[in-house]
C-alpha cells in the first residue's frame, strides 16, 4: 500500500486506483458504522476517494496513507452527521445496522448503550486494528484522551455486560 501511495503521489493514477480499491472495504465499514445506512456510507466512500485523489500529491508520509485516508473519511462523516442534525434529518434507523445486533443479548445491550465516541474508538482499535497513536492522530485527540476513552469504553462494556450477567445469573 505504501508503494502505491508513493506512486500515486507522483501522479500515477493506476496506483491510486489500486490504493483506493485496497482501502474501500475498510472505509465502507467505518462509514457504515458511523452513518448507519448503505447509501450514505457509499457516498462517504465516494467523496473520500475523490478528496484523497485531489490531495494525494500533498500526502507527506506514504507509509501512513491508510491513516491519512481514514482521517478524510472521518472528517467527512463528522461533517455529514453535523449537517444532518442541523437540517433536522433524522438519523437512519438504528436497526439498519446489523452488526449492532450481536446474538448475545448482553452484548447487544452493551453495544447499544455505548456512547458513540467510545464505540468509535472500540471499532477503530479492536476491529480495524489502528494503533493508539494512529487513533489519536485520526481523531485529533491527545493520546492520553484516547487511552482514557478506551478505558471508559471497556469499563462501560463491562458494566453493561456485568448487569446483564447479574440479571441472568
Amino acid at each position: 500500500m505504501t508503494d502505491w501511495a508513493a506512486k500515486a503521489r507522483r501522479g500515477d493514477d493506476s496506483a491510486f486506483a489500486e490504493l483506493a480499491h485496497a482501502c474501500k472495504e475498510k472505509l465502507y465499514r467505518i462509514a457504515f458504522a458511523y452513518l448507519r445506512n448503505e447509501a450514505d456510507a457509499l457516498e462517504a466512500v465516494q467523496e473520500t476517494v475523490c478528496r484523497a485523489y485531489q490531495k494525494i500529491r500533498k500526502l507527506k508520509e506514504p507509509e501512513h496513507v491508510l491513516t491519512w485516508i481514514t482521517r478524510i473519511l472521518l472528517n467527512y462523516c463528522a461533517d455529514e452527521v453535523k449537517r444532518r442534525s442541523r437540517s433536522g434529518i433524522a438519523p437512519a434507523d438504528y436497526a439498519a445496522a446489523a452488526w449492532d445486533h450481536p446474538s448475545d443479548p448482553d452484548l447487544q445491550a452493551a453495544v447499544r448503550g455505548l456512547d458513540p465516541k467510545y464505540r468509535q474508538i472500540v471499532i477503530l482499535m479492536y476491529f480495524e486494528g489502528y494503533t493508539l497513536t494512529e487513533i489519536a492522530s485520526l481523531l485529533d485527540l491527545p493520546s492520553g484522551t484516547v487511552k482514557t476513552r478506551l478505558h471508559k469504553a471497556l469499563q462501560e462494556l463491562r458494566r453493561h455486560l456485568g448487569e446483564g450477567e447479574d440479571a441472568h445469573g
Binding site: 500515477d12 493514477d13 466512500v45 449492532d100 448475545d104 478505558h151
Partner: protein
Amino acid sequence: MDEEKKETLLRSDEQSSPLEGKLADSSAGNFESSGEKDKPTTLAEWKQCYTETPLPAGLDEAVRIGIERGARRRRTRGRSRLAAWSAAAVLVLFLGSVRVSPAFAAYISQIPGLESFVEWLTLDKGLQLAVDHDLVQEIGVSDTHDGVEFRVDGVIADEARIVIMYSFVVKTPGAKIPDQAHFRLGLYDSNGKRIEGGYAVSGGSSPAEGDTVSRVLEVELMEENNPAPQSLEVAMVQEAATGITAGEWKVGFDLDTAKFQGMRQEQELHHTFTSAGQTFTLKRAIYYPTRMKLEIDSDPNNRLHIFGLTGLSLTDEEGRVWTTKTATIDPDGWTVFFESSYFTRPKRLTLSGLGVNALPENERVLQLDLDSGKLTGGPADLSFEGSRVNGNDRSFTFKMPYESEHPIAFQMEKVTDSTEKAFESHLFESHQSDGGILEQTITFQGGKEMKGTLTFRISGYPRVERSPFTVEFETPFP
C-alpha cells in the same frame, strides 16, 4: 501500539466482575494471541458481526466515481488558470496567425458529420496537420433515447491525447438537449478491461440551447498510461448531486492505434532563462502529432512566488508561430501545451513570453476580520467588497486591477478561521468591468461556520511583471 500493550490496557482495570474473564478472553480472541478458540467470546462476536458488514454491489462503482470526480475537481480547480492560458492563446490567434488551408476545409467538409467541426479545427494548426496526415478517424456511432441522439462523429488521437468530436441532436420535437451535463468516459485496454485512472477529461460543458450542438471532448492520457487504449466507451451522464445517475447516453467504438503508434519524440533540454529577475529552466520537450508539451521549472530560490509565465508562444525558423492552448501547474513547475509542430519538423524553435505572473511571497497572505470587514496584508491593490452566506457556504467578493491582455484569475483555495478550522473554495465567479477592474467572488464550502479572523493564501493573482524573454533551442528533428 503493539498487541502486548492492548492486552495491558484491557487487563489493567482488574475487577472482580464475573464478566472479567469474558471480556479478557474476547480481547485475546480478537488479537489472535491466545485463548480458547472453540469458545465463542462476546467482543469477538461483535467484531465478527462488524467485519461481516455486507458490502454493497455499488462499492466498486463508488470508488470509480470518486476517482473521476476527483480528477474533474482537480481539473476544474486549475481551470481558471487553464482558461486564462487558453484565452491568451485565442488572443494571439486573433492577431492573425491563422490561415485555413482551403484543401483542409474541403477535405473535412466531405466527411459526413465532421463538417460542423471545421471551424473548431481551424483554431489549431497542429490538429489540421494531424488531419492532413490521416490521423482523423470517422466514427459515426450514436445512442438515442428520450428523443435526443448522442453521436460520436469522429476522433483525432495520438499516444497522449484523444480528441472526440460529438453532437447532440434533438430527434423528437419538444425534447431537450440535457443541461448540467457531465461526461463520463470509459476507457478499455485490449483485453476489454476497464482502465480506472490515468486520464483526465476536459471540454463537454453544458450544451447550448437549440436542436443540434457539436462539441469537442479531450482526453488527456497520462504518460504512465501509454499506449493508448484500443477501445473507448463514451457516456454522457446527468449526475445528480449525490452521484446518482439520472440519464445516460452511451456509445462505444474502437480506436485505430496503428495510425499513430510510435509518433512521439522526446527531448531533454536544460536551457535556463530569466524574466523579471526570476530564473526558469526549460526542462523537456515532447512532440506528439496533436500537440507539443514543454516542461518549465521555476527556480526555488526565486524571490517572487510565480503563478505562471504570460504570453507564451513558439516560433520556428520559418516564422511560423505555434500558440499555447493550455497549461497544467504542479508544485514543481509547469507543463505548457502548444499546437503541434510534429509534422512540420522545424529545426529550431524559439520560446518567447511577455513576462511573469507573480506576487512577492509576503503579499500572498491576507487576513480578514469577519466582524469589522477589515482586510490586512495581501496585495496593496486588492480591495474587499463584502461577504455573504449562501446555504452552508460563504462567499467573498474582491476587486483588483486587471489587464485584459493578461487574462489571469484571482484564486484562493483555502482559508482558516480563528478556530484553525480550514475551508476549501469550490466556486469562482469573475466579472470584468471596462475600467480594467476585475471583480471576483470566491465561495468556500461549509463557510457558514467561519468564525473570527480569517487567513487566506492567494494561489492566483492577475499581476504581471512585464519582462519579455526568448529562449532558442534546436529540435531533435533531422
